[in-house]
């Protein structure tokens, strides 16, 4: 069965735990857009949500840095402040992705023992349907160079689409990341919102394939190392035209929520 829904969501932890430095009204507008994702996910009656996210050096430290990985444990759990999350993992779909991904030429790592990163549970905190749906966490290395190239991410997304379309389950795909931000660097207060706006305009015209031609250096310069998760999704959704549900640039982060017709 073809994908039933596709979205991209931000995951900045200030959406979950707001320090006084953050504009409350802006945070609530992003929550509203994520609420729209929740409504659409519920309406799509997804059986499983496959999330593509970058690890914030939480599940994978310098003991091993996989470019692309799949979590295939029974449950995926993580914590942030007072929040404790635990999601059922859809093991048949997770296994199919690992096995068929490797057959397709993508040398995926997999794990059954990882703490879940907030890049996964921040969007789910706001967008998980009332009756919780099992998930499959897919990892793309975004923060520990050398990261996979945009071209490789796009190709992986296309292969992923083939795997998911062949499943009987109703699968929703979510990319978690971005847009421009520079945590821990001297650019923290000056994200590249022009890059974001040009990107969103191109995606609205269905020109997502162009992102496969970006370089890692360009992503790093634009504060968009996490765009690799979006590029993976763009490989899966092809030339579908993005619908921008919100773009809310804060003083340090371009928050974008986007939907694609599939």
């Amino acid at each position: 069965m073809p994908l039933v829904a596709a979205f991209a969501c931000p995951h900045t932890p200030q959406l979950l735990v707001r320090p006084p430095t953050e504009d409350r009204a802006l945070v609530l507008r992003v929550h509203e857009a994520l609420g729209e994702v929740k409504r659409r996910l519920s309406a799509a009656r997804a059986d499983v949500i496959v999330l593509v996210a970058g690890d914030h050096i939480e599940g994978f430290f310098l003991n091993a840095v996989p470019a692309l990985a799949v979590y295939v444990g029974a449950r995926a759990a993580g914590e942030f402040g007072r929040y404790r999350y635990a999601f059922d993992v859809h093991e048949p779909v997770a296994r199919a992705i690992v096995e068929q991904g490797i057959e397709a030429g993508f040398d995926l790592a997999y794990s059954q023992q990882l703490p879940l990163d907030y890049a996964f549970y921040v969007p789910l905190h706001f967008a998980m349907p009332a009756v919780a749906v099992p998930i499959v966490p897919l990892y793309v290395n975004v923060y520990l160079p050398p990261q996979p190239t945009p071209r490789r991410c796009h190709a992986w997304g296309a292969a992923l689409r083939t795997i998911l379309d062949a499943r009987a389950e109703r699968v929703a795909l979510i990319a978690s990341g971005g847009l421009s931000h520079f945590p821990g660097t001297e650019r923290y207060g000056t994200p590249d919102f022009d890059f974001d706006r040009a990107l969103l305009a191109a995606l609205a015209e269905g020109r997502g394939a162009e992102t496969a031609r970006l370089t890692g250096e360009e992503l790093d310069k634009a504060g968009n190392v996490e765009l690799r998760t979006w590029i993976t999704l763009l490989g899966a959704v092809g030339a579908a035209r993005a619908e921008v549900l919100c773009y809310e640039p804060s003083w340090h982060h371009g928050n974008a929520v986007v939907a694609w017709p599939v």
Binding site: L16, V17, R18, H56, G81, H125, P145, P146
Partner: protein
């Protein structure tokens, strides 16, 4: 120009491992809050690294090879522990 997120130098592994622990391990954060110097020594950090951590100077830490994101989130988690009431939970 070097990348904002650069290859982590092997020499900085003890520092990055310590920042990772501060970010992800509440017990290490609690121990660090109670006795920072002893906690840093237990993690095998040298004089320059301990001095940079004492002020949590981002530029110095990154100059020593710290991953910028680890510096950022270690500091966020320490602040969340120290000033829990200033944060709004949704």
């Amino acid at each position: 120009m070097d990348a904002h997120y650069f290859f982590p130098p092997a020499a900085a592994f003890p520092l990055n491992r310590f920042l990772f622990a501060l970010k992800s391990d509440a017990a290490v954060r609690a121990r660090y809050a109670k006795d920072g110097e002893a906690t840093m020594r237990e993690h095998g950090l040298d004089d320059a690294t301990r001095a940079a951590l004492a002020t949590f100077d981002r530029e110095r830490l990154v100059g020593l090879g710290a991953h910028p994101y680890l510096v950022f989130m270690a500091q966020v988690r320490l602040t969340m522990d120290r000033e829990p009431t200033t944060f709004e939970y949704f």
